[in-house]
């Protein structure tokens, strides 16, 4: 990104000054000069276009891991006020609606089970459906799927996937309000048949990780984490159903914007005012997809537990937290000194409520909501805690991953999957995949430095670092 086009507000905050006479909302980019310099100029262009959309409340923002997306940049956060003509945008959520990370803490120490990791890697890769073309054992007809879309992870628990105790540690108790399964097309429901309980591919993964270092003792204690402990992270979303909703509504909202005479800077920002039938239809379908994703990660949690218990009878896996990073949620925030009900789009950004927020589970309320920054398979991931400051700076939002530093195209030219798998094995990281091409595209070197992202997230006041997780086993989709 051309930093000469930015104006620095403070050490970790930047803006794009409007051109003379230009009427648009404020833009805010969080990050270090080094991270911002790695971003494509398109990130600045896209977030500036978001700031031109109707009903924007507060600034349109990018997180330190931002990269060029479609419509909104990935790592983009923007809130819209329905009482001010505010919009909802399919491109502001993304196709993989409610993609997110479920983090499980175990009662196992790496030192005690290191010898079991190759068997565990084999078991997980055989039992967790992962990669393009892979289906799960659960086949749901469209009618049965409506129940999942209405009740999310609660449906999964009621059908024997996991325990009720999991629900407390999933956003919204495992079921988001406002789903309208009837707004989901029959084709989307057919596409999901066979895809419940599957990981998907691309940057999705299931990792067994070790807590390598604790940075915040009090928060780590509340989260039940200590150094040397094994944890599991599951990164996936709403699968084919969410993808189909995203693709269908992207087109229908683009047409609605034309019909409603909304002047879009680019039609990839397809949207409709929240208070229109088109906006409400997408909202209902998107909420249904969020519930689909929450159920999917709940089923995968259950499958993961079975893999562990088959090999290590004493293994216990508890849900630390489940947080989505592709959503639009109705939340109350103070803007211009007034509390307002806003629709907060987070596309590749994690909600990060601070200490005392009523939506944070009671066990964590004193320290803030767990935030997970998923890194590449060769580097590591971070657990952070939401801060009170983040509420004022970014509608309580934080980074979600390392963020790509180069395209898949470039990565394919630079790396070979087999070589990467061997190199990582030599470092004690076991990769299991059906796609060596996918491994090359997901090479650790194709991502930004996750440690720099976590540091920038903390320094910008968006969330504070709690623990660093090092991968030991990675099942890649």
């Amino acid at each position: 990104m051309d930093l000469s086009k930015l104006k620095q507000i403070d050490e970790w905050t930047w803006t794009v000054p409007p051109a003379p006479g230009e009427a648009r909302g404020e833009v805010r980019l969080y990050g270090s000069p080094e991270l911002l310099a790695t971003m494509d100029n398109k990130v600045m262009e896209q977030i500036t276009n978001v700031a031109r959309l109707p009903g924007l409340a507060g600034p349109a923002m990018t997180m330190p891991d931002a990269h060029w997306g479609y419509g909104f940049p990935i790592g983009g956060v923007a809130a819209f006020d329905p009482e001010q003509g505010g919009i909802i945008s399919a491109g502001g959520v993304g196709f993989d609606i409610s993609c997110g990370i479920r983090c499980l803490r175990t009662n196992l120490e790496l030192a005690d089970v290191a010898g079991e990791l190759p068997s565990l890697a084999r078991e997980l890769s055989e039992k967790i459906p992962a990669g393009v073309g892979e289906e799960g054992d659960l086949k749901l007809a469209p009618e049965a799927l409506d129940d999942v879309l209405a009740r999310g992870a609660q449906w999964a628990v009621e059908h024997g996937y996991g325990a009720a105790a999991d629900l407390e540690f999933i956003e919204e108790g495992g079921r988001v309000g406002g789903p309208v399964p009837q707004n989901v097309s029959p084709l989307a429901k057919k596409r999901q048949r066979g895809e419940m309980g599957t990981l998907g591919s691309g940057n999705h993964y299931l990792e067994v990780q070790v807590v390598e270092r604790i940075y915040d003792e009090a928060a780590a204690r509340a989260y039940g984490l200590h150094e040397g402990q094994l944890v599991v992270s599951i990164h996936c979303g709403s699968r084919g159903l969410g993808h189909q909703i995203g693709t269908e509504y992207l087109v229908s909202l683009a047409k609605a914007a034309t019909r409603l005479n909304i002047r879009l800077p680019d039609r990839e920002l397809a949207c409709a005012p929240i208070h229109t039938p088109e906006g409400q239809q997408y909202l209902g379908a998107m909420n249904a997809a969020i519930n689909c994703a929450l159920a999917n990660r709940q089923i995968l949690t259950h499958l993961t537990r079975r893999c562990f218990s088959r090999l290590i009878a004493r293994a216990r896996l508890e849900t630390l937290f489940d947080v989505s990073h592709n959503t639009c949620k109705r939340e109350s925030h103070v803007v211009d000194g007034r509390k307002r009900l806003l629709y907060v789009h987070r596309k590749g950004a994690t909600r990060a409520f601070g200490p005392g927020h009523p939506a944070v589970p009671e066990r964590y309320r004193a320290v803030g909501q767990p935030v997970v920054i998923g890194g590449s398979m060769g580097t590591g991931s971070w657990i952070l805690a939401g801060t009170a400051e983040s509420e004022n700076r970014a509608f309580a939002s934080a980074s979600h991953g390392a963020g790509r530093a180069m395209s898949r195209h470039q990565a394919l030219k630079q790396w070979r999957g087999r070589e990467l798998v061997d190199q990582l094995a030599a470092q004690g990281i076991l990769i299991r995949t059906r796609s060596m091409r996918g491994v090359a595209e997901e090479a650790p070197g194709a991502y930004k430095d996750v440690n720099a992202v976590a540091e920038a997230t903390e320094q910008a006041g968006l969330a504070r670092r709690v623990a660093f997780l090092r991968p030991k086993v990675c099942v890649k989709g």
């Binding site: 398109k42 993989d96 393009v132 073309g133 596409r191 691309g202 693709t247 898949r408």
Partner: protein
């Protein structure tokens, strides 16, 4: 109808995008460029030369905007591939005014088919369909 040909991941049928992939279809006609874009999209997921065209599906839709038609064409193919558990190798489409009729053939996923990454859907980003001096070009970014 597009015939299976060698498409190199990261080669000339693609263009740069940070997180996703841009696909480019080329052809002597508008329809051929759509078929070529479909082949480039499915080649992200599998080695098309190894896919056997054993089962066919058909589709039709109405769309006046040719650029939106490209997005709908690709997304319908992706949806049908998931619905039927198929990976496609051959593609065909015809246009009659605003009416589009097409289809694809392929086979169920086999364990020994080399896998790439799943394409979630076609987007409106960098979307362009136009006739150039050497034929038609149809392109857009697909979300992976």
């Amino acid at each position: 109808m597009s015939v299976a040909r060698s498409i190199t991941p990261g080669g000339d049928d693609y263009f740069e995008h940070d997180a996703d992939i841009g696909v480019i279809g080329r052809g002597a006609t508008l329809e051929e460029s759509f078929e070529s874009a479909a082949a480039a999209t499915f080649a992200i997921m599998a080695d098309l030369a190894a896919v056997r065209p054993e089962q066919s599906v058909s589709l039709d839709f109405e769309e006046a905007d040719v650029e939106i038609a490209l997005v709908r064409w690709l997304n319908l193919l992706l949806a049908l591939s998931h619905e039927h558990g198929l990976v496609f190798r051959r593609f065909w489409i015809e246009r009659d005014g605003v009416r589009w009729r097409g289809g694809a053939s392929g086979e169920p996923w086999r364990r020994d088919l080399e896998r790439g990454v799943e394409v979630k859907g076609a987007t409106l980003t960098m979307l362009q369909v136009r006739e150039e001096r050497d034929g038609w070009r149809a392109r857009c970014v697909v979300d992976v």
